[in-house]
Assembly symmetry: C2
Homo-oligomer: 191 residues x 2
C-alpha cells in the first residue's frame, strides 16, 4: 500500500508541491497484506485509490478506481517491466480474477510454486505495486487529458448473475459487487 501510494504521492510532491507536501507515504501502511494481512482489498489498490481520491472530483473517483480494479482483476501480473532492477527475475505471471489480495497471492503461489512466505513472493508484490501505480498514473493522465474511457467489463458469466442479483431493476437486488461470482459461488443454481 505504501509502495503504490508513495510512488504516486512523491511524484505529486515533486511536480506539484503543495498541498501534497503536507502528506507522507507513511499514512498508507494499513493495507499491507490486504489490510493487516487479512487478504481483503490488495494494498497496492488501496494505496492507489487513496491517491486517485486526492486528484479527481468525487463524482469521478469511482470511475477511475473501478477501472483500476477491473484492470487488476483481469491482467497477467506482474508485468515484465521490472527486469532491470528486481531482485528476482519475473518468471511467473498470474491473473487474480478479483481485487482481493488473497486471490492474487494464492493464484500466484499456485502458478509459481512458491510459498506466500518466500522472499520471491514479497518481490512479486513489490513489482505489482509498481505496476498498479503506473496503471493508476496512466488512468489519471488520460482522465486529465479528457480522453479517459472505461474499458473493463465484467465477464459474460458474471453479467448473467448480475442480471438478477445486482441493481435497482433486478429481480433479486441483494448484491453489490463487480467481482466474478463463480470462484466463490461455484455451485450457484446447481444444487
Amino acid at each position: 500500500m505504501k509502495g503504490s501510494a508513495g510512488a504516486i504521492l512523491l511524484q505529486l510532491q515533486e511536480k506539484v508541491g503543495y498541498p501534497y507536501t503536507l502528506l507522507t507515504p507513511d499514512m498508507y501502511r494499513w493495507g499491507a497484506g490486504g489490510g493487516a494481512s487479512w487478504g481483503t482489498l490488495c494494498g497496492t489498490l488501496a494505496g492507489a485509490a487513496n491517491m486517485i481520491n486526492l486528484v479527481v472530483p468525487a463524482a469521478d473517483v469511482p470511475k477511475l478506481v473501478g477501472e483500476l480494479f477491473g484492470w487488476y482483476s483481469s491482467t497477467a501480473l506482474p508485468t515484465m517491466n521490472h527486469e532491470s532492477y528486481a531482485k528476482f527475475p519475473n518468471k511467473t505471471q498470474s491473473i487474480a480474477g478479483n481485487p482481493l489480495c488473497h486471490a492474487s497471492v494464492s493464484n500466484w503461489c499456485a502458478a509459481s510454486g512458491f510459498r506466500e512466505t518466500d522472499e520471491e513472493r514479497l518481490n512479486r508484490c513489490a513489482m505489482l505495486a509498481g505496476d498498479v501505480a503506473a496503471k493508476a498514473i496512466e488512468l489519471l493522465n488520460s482522465y486529465h487529458a479528457k480522453n479517459f474511457t472505461p474499458a473493463y467489463k465484467v465477464s459474460a458469466e458474471t453479467a448473467k448473475c448480475q442480471g438478477c442479483h445486482v441493481g435497482k431493476t433486478s429481480m433479486l437486488g441483494n448484491t453489490l459487487t463487480n467481482m466474478d461470482c463463480a470462484p466463490c459461488h461455484p455451485n450457484a443454481h446447481k444444487k
Copy 2:
C-alpha cells in the same frame, strides 16, 4: 468510508487540532460500496483503518486494524445504538463473516428482505459506519491507555485450514488471509 473516517478525523481536529486540521474527510471517499461499488473491503473499515494509521506507530497498526476487522466479521451489526436519530429503526442485525462489503450487504439483505438498492440498506450502512468508528475509537483509547489486548480469534474450522495453508511453517503456505475459508470454499477437500 467518508462517514467512519470523518467521525474519527473531526474528533482529532476538535480535540488535538494540528496536524489533523490539514486533512479532510473528503480524502476518504473511494472506499464506498467496498471500493467503487466493487464490494471488496467494507468502506467503513477502510475509513477507520486510514485513521488508525494516523495515530498509531507503524508496527502496531496491523494489531488494531486486524482486531477491528475481526470484530466486524463476527459481530451482529448494526448495533441498536442509533434508535434516537436513525431514519429507519434497526430491525435487522446480521453477521458479515468477513470484512468484505459484498458479504456484509448480502447477508443483511438476506436477513432483512430488503434490496441492496433500498433506502433502508443505505440507512443500515450509515449506522454501520457509526458502529465501526465507535469501535475503532474504543480500540484506540484502550491502545493509548496501554491496555489493548487483541480478542479476535479465527474460527476452529478456519484455524484448521490455516494449519496447512498459512504461515512459514505450514505444509502448503500458499495463502495470506484471516477470512473464514468455508463460505467461499465450501467443497475444499470434499471432492
